[in-house]
Symmetry: C2
Amino acid sequence: MYGITPSARLRPSPFYEATVKEGVCAFTTYNHMLMPTSYGKPLEEYWRLINGVSQWDVAVERQVQLKGPDAGRLAQILAPRDLSKQNVGQGKYVPLCNHQGVLINDPICLKLADDLYWLSIADSNIWFWAGAIAAERGLRVEVSEPDVSPMAIQGPKAEDVVAAVCGDWVRGLKYFWFKETEINGIPVVVQRSGWSKQGGFEIYLRDGSNGTELWNIFREAGAPWGIGPGNPNWSERVESGLVSFGGDSDGTTNPYEVRMGKYVDLDVPDDTIGIQALRRIAAEGPRRHSLGIILDAGDPVTPGFLWNPIYNDGAKVGDLTNCVFSIRVQKNLGFALISTACKVGDRVEALVAGKMEPGQLVEMPFL
Amino acid sequence: MYGITPSARLRPSPFYEATVKEGVCAFTTYNHMLMPTSYGKPLEEYWRLINGVSQWDVAVERQVQLKGPDAGRLAQILAPRDLSKQNVGQGKYVPLCNHQGVLINDPICLKLADDLYWLSIADSNIWFWAGAIAAERGLRVEVSEPDVSPMAIQGPKAEDVVAAVCGDWVRGLKYFWFKETEINGIPVVVQRSGWSKQGGFEIYLRDGSNGTELWNIFREAGAPWGIGPGNPNWSERVESGLVSFGGDSDGTTNPYEVRMGKYVDLDVPDDTIGIQALRRIAAEGPRRHSLGIILDAGDPVTPGFLWNPIYNDGAKVGDLTNCVFSIRVQKNLGFALISTACKVGDRVEALVAGKMEPGQLVEMPFL
């Protein structure tokens, strides 16, 4: 593994010191920040998420704040999903598209008030995007990046830990719903959410100077349940079929290609960005879709940084956008962004690290 | 140093294999790509740039291509610098601002034809920005990311090396001017430019499949001049006063604060983004400016990922946005983004890694 050089372009999170103390040993970058990717014990970290409770620094999920009388209008202009019935305290997963219907992010949209929304974003610059649209359309809304940094508590025992800290009311939170509260005087938003399928919460820290304190509160409260450090887990997320924007999508991907069509509402207002293109794509049908692939190879393959081409009878039919050796399935699993001519059950070959790896297309999720 | 975890969100460059062969050992990320930051021999790499010739993978300087009848119009709308007299074959350094006059990138704008421009960008997403503006204003222009990846040849002997490969015509290129040509059948753009003050060229590879071949052509041609691998050099760039967008600027920085005011033309058309705000800032005068700082400390200080606050008589007056132990000056040099109440010659203190470091404000560049 290569080193990462410190730079002020790559900001640490408010939980940085806490994660250093936990023994973080590798990072990725995401929204110009560092996100922990390993604490050096991959199996322990995996099983902690599957069977117990894991604590993650996901401050890189930055918030694009829309504030002002036109905040709701801007949110709807940006998102081709009907937000008209969204309640205060409710989050909604929304694909964002450009004018051509190409996916440019897939945030959770949190409605904090009629005039205050957060887009909790994946790894692309939506501040510029939203700011450009707001200014060009003359909307009365301020677009900014507030001092808000999520920490995730994930796994089957996450609810017990968050209830121990916040109270039993958290057990009643519906998926993506949230509440503004305080923990030991630290202002937070508590939401049932998180980038795993093992259940859990995200605690949005609203004062970056208290990162270490908030981390330690959950660390201590979670001790009876064996809490420990982790991060969005590559093996679990592939097993669970979770899409990584920018990793599983490229500069031409539309929502229908990556199993996000169900989050598009074609009857949103005509001034919603990309809706004309999405209506056309929906009518014609997408040219690619996302299927799972299970490689025959019994040993782990290492796909590295790149997409790997997928072939059928010698013709390129798609790309292997990720590939990981699944701990529970004990096989190499991946996502195939592939021609809709290819179907579940088809045999294909992926060129991984210079070697043709045969495999079979399957439904997702794997588990 | 921490490790960086491979991810398809972080693309390698077309020169990746060549740099691995050269012994690259650390990276940063920039525009969602990996950029080499060390080959493990910092002094050797530094002096090669200062006295000889150095070869850099700077493919992360991506191109935002504007193509179509309104390409020039869009370039001028985006850039608050007069481009009306820009010639085909000429590059111009342009600060890009948002509607509030805040700096959002500082690319070189290359005019390849009346209907074809490239913005060779720093580390922020200008595709989204330019695409939003083009679509919202109904311009006849396509915004895209072409298959173009710069490699830099830098240092006092760079001209000899590039002339050996391309011919003596390169000696006549003026600063930021460029020419489209081929090297061994590989399509390139050759420009006198590069992120150092040691002189040199950037070779824009226009076919990513030929990265290793292009690298090796210069590696072999440069052997008589002792060419070897390097990268944008932190020590040299600080000594030379080169601004790093996103490192030396934040979400509120305007061009006047970071010595870019001379690249702003206040008489550009009124539909240029941010020009009203810039006219107001120019009239009122900026509240911060960028000065050099020389710390008293004789040993290298390590500022890490963060900006470090600067104090004067106990009051915070600005931020140390970078700091490096200069090899030629043999002192810790940094950039102070600081209140205009602070002047050259003032004594201040910077809080670096938990310790107050006294120092003096000076003019830039240092060398």
